[in-house]
Amino acid sequence: MGRSNTRVILLIIAAALILVLISLGQYSSSSAGISCVREGYLVFNKIITSPFTFIADLWKDYIYLVDTKRDNEELKKSNDALRVQSMNLEELRSENERLRLMLDFKAAHTEFSLYPASLLAQDITLVFKTAVIDKGSRSGFFVNMPIVNPDGVVGRVVAVSSHTSQILMITDPNSAIPALIASTRVKGIVKGTGGESLRLEYVRRTDDVKIGDFVVTSGLLGIFPKGLRIGYVKDIQVDERKIFADILLAPCVDMEKIEGIFGIGQDVATTD
């Protein structure tokens, strides 16, 4: 009994000494004992914790990824929705811009009775340049009504029904508008070519025409009010053997991007 008590006391003293030794060297990087304990603890820790780490990693990398995948899909959907929303906002912005331009145009031309309309359909052939709009006789549209947009002349109405009208664009080969060059008042006839450009005909080669000159409606024939912009001169060919110059115009209106248009009412002075 006394012997065993002595052994216990010696063991406690030894343990206390070890603890003292350990605590004395705990800030010493060169302490081999401390290092061994740490290294041993590391191995022990790894052995004990590795199965749990394995399970945890498995959970994080595979099982938990199911949620991540779902989150990813939801984020993708959300991203797609935001992109669509962004496109819609962009469309609304451009529509707003277009409507603002139309309102500005209407405010700037109080002398005209303007009837707004939108494009419904375009010509089914590549050759002709006509379009159908969503307003007809019930909205005040009539045959030969001038059609414009804020940039200039678009064309005129050639057929009308209760709720739709067919318009002949100025680029159609059947279109002819009396016109004059704004700066020099030289008169001519603007005809469509069926392509992107217009032709100014019956202008003598000796007349004063320069590239960049604006061409406007002259008001003759009484269909178009005078002073509406049609296009500007982009090419002049003069042949000494011909009486008239070959003049090509670029239309002021981008015919490929027409959306909103106006019909000009009858109560307008059109004569030159």
Binding site: L126, V127, F128, G194, K257
Partner: protein
């Protein structure tokens, strides 16, 4: 018979929507002709007594969406119908490749004839849209033939 004809006219209005509104809104100078494929389908699968009146009525409807002189569009499509009816005896029309080639060929022929009638230069700034339009018309022709065939089988 009536159900088939009503369905065909329903498809015709879908064609107008595509040709006159949707495709020009994507690229303004582009025109794709879906009707040529329908004509080929009519010739192969529908009796002449039903197909010919359908083409006449349809082309009159299509005339409403063109600035061409009144009667020009029906004339061109009736001539197309008669030409394909004649070719039926010479070419095996049920072949997809043949339908594709005929779609391209007749699209170009219709545009050239229209340009000649109206004295317009067809290639001034339009060459790219003309070629793409012809290729797309060729591609949709077999699909339209298939649509007519499916309708004919469904209502037979």
């Amino acid at each position: 018979m009536w159900r088939l004809q009503i369905s065909l006219f329903g498809i015709l209005f879908a064609i107008v929507l595509m040709e006159a509104t949707i495709i020009p809104s994507i690229w303004a100078p582009l025109r794709v002709d879906f009707f040529i494929g329908m004509i080929i389908g009519q010739i192969i699968y529908i009796p002449f007594s039903q197909g010919f009146p359908f083409v006449i009525l349809s082309s009159l409807i299509l005339q409403a969406f063109s600035g061409a002189r009144l009667g020009l569009i029906p004339l061109l499509y009736i001539l197309t119908f008669l030409a394909i009816e004649f070719l039926k005896n010479l070419v095996y029309l049920e072949n997809t490749f043949t339908q594709l080639v005929m779609g391209i060929g007749f699209y170009l022929a219709l545009m050239v004839v229209t340009a000649i009638f109206t004295d317009i230069s067809l290639f001034e700034g339009k060459a790219a849209s003309l070629i793409i339009g012809a290729l797309l018309s060729g591609c949709v022709s077999p699909a339209m033939v298939y649509t007519v065939r499916r309708l004919q089988i469904a209502y037979e």
